[in-house]
């Protein structure tokens, strides 16, 4: 309020570029539909009416990687699926973030065998890990808010 008076009601507000861009990026992140297994059902529950994700700006899950900036890897990634995951990650334009949702995406989970990649961070760089098998919708929302906090704290020299 004081700022407007000082500037003589010109209708201009000053703030740092970092804050503005980070605020815009975090409030309108569009997730890509990457539900693989059971965690996908909890992700769908989070999107649905009881725990609503649209209040965080994630109204739709875009199916195309070219139009999304957040990839929530929800579910177990098998060795056959890993190249597909990498290719989709490469197709997303910058800036992009990855959330590893659930135990299987974070570290292989219950399945320590020939068929499952032990942690999706072997394939793509991960920003936030969410534990749980499957994580509750509240846990997923907490993870998303942690990511928002991380994005708000980014510096200009870290931008891609």
């Amino acid at each position: 309020m004081g700022v407007e008076q000082k500037l003589g009601n010109m209708g201009a507000v000053t703030l740092r570029l970092e804050e503005a861009v980070n605020w815009a990026r975090s409030n309108a992140m569009w997730p890509m539909l990457f539900g693989l297994a059971c965690c996908a059902i909890e992700m769908m529950s989070t999107q649905a009416s009881n725990y609503d994700l649209s209040r965080f700006g994630m109204e739709l899950m875009r199916a195309s990687p070219r139009q999304s900036d957040l990839m929530i890897v929800a579910g177990r990634v098998s060795r056959k699926m890993a190249p597909v995951l990498r290719r989709l990650y490469d197709q997303m334009p910058d800036p992009k973030w990855v959330i590893a949702m659930g135990d299987c995406a974070s570290c292989g989970g219950v399945f320590n065998n020939y068929a499952i990649v032990q942690g999706v961070d072997e394939v793509v760089p991960v920003d936030v890990y969410i534990a749980g098998c499957p994580p509750r919708p509240e846990a997923l929302i907490h993870g998303i808010m942690t990511l928002h906090g991380k994005v708000r704290g980014e510096k200009i020299k870290d931008w891609k």
Partner: protein
């Protein structure tokens, strides 16, 4: 136990000379590999076992020869009974005639057995891998295939595993 199953088992035993086993009410017949298609055809046409509920294999290496037992589970809808068939197959280039002509849904079931155990089915229309990647080597469910267990990262070996684990950057 149902009368129909006992009669069926006795009749198949008489006709094809197979032995029969029973455990907790389930009857299973041990059939030699070259007769499996005729036995399935007879069971489907004459005795009403019209559903191939499941088909799989078990690996008895190294304890028993022959190494593989291919197991068929048949279900009869008119009589609501089940019967199982066991076919011993040996481990050296194992091969078996396909029952796809009798039960079309054996298509994917036999592809899975090829993928997981390496047992070929002669006469199958589409013998390719189904669950593992196309260029995978080995047959995972055999007993001499390793589980692929990777060392778990606890606090005492955290740094050591951190150093050698392949993390993706960008």
């Amino acid at each position: 136990m149902s009368e129909h199953v006992l009669e069926t088992a006795k009749s198949i035993q008489g006709r094809f000379g197979v032995e029969s086993r029973e455990f907790r009410g389930d009857v299973s017949l041990v059939v030699p590999p070259d007769q499996i298609v005729q036995v399935c055809q007879t069971l489907r046409d004459e005795f009403g076992f019209n559903l191939l509920a499941g088909q799989t294999a078990v690996d008895y290496w190294p304890a028993q020869e022959p190494r593989f037992h291919v197991i068929y589970q048949l279900y009869s809808m008119p009589h609501s009974v089940r019967i199982g068939l066991r076919v011993p197959v040996n481990g050296n280039a194992p091969s078996l005639p396909t029952v796809e002509t009798v039960f079309p849904n054996a298509n994917w079931l036999e592809r899975e057995i090829w993928d997981m155990f390496g047992i070929r089915f002669a006469g199958h229309s589409d013998m390719r891998r189904i669950l593992m990647p196309y260029d995978w080597e080995g047959h995972p469910l055999r007993k001499d295939y390793p589980l692929g267990y990777e060392e778990v990262q606890y606090t005492f070996n955290y740094d050591e595993i951190d150093g050698r684990k392949h993390y993706a950057k960008e």
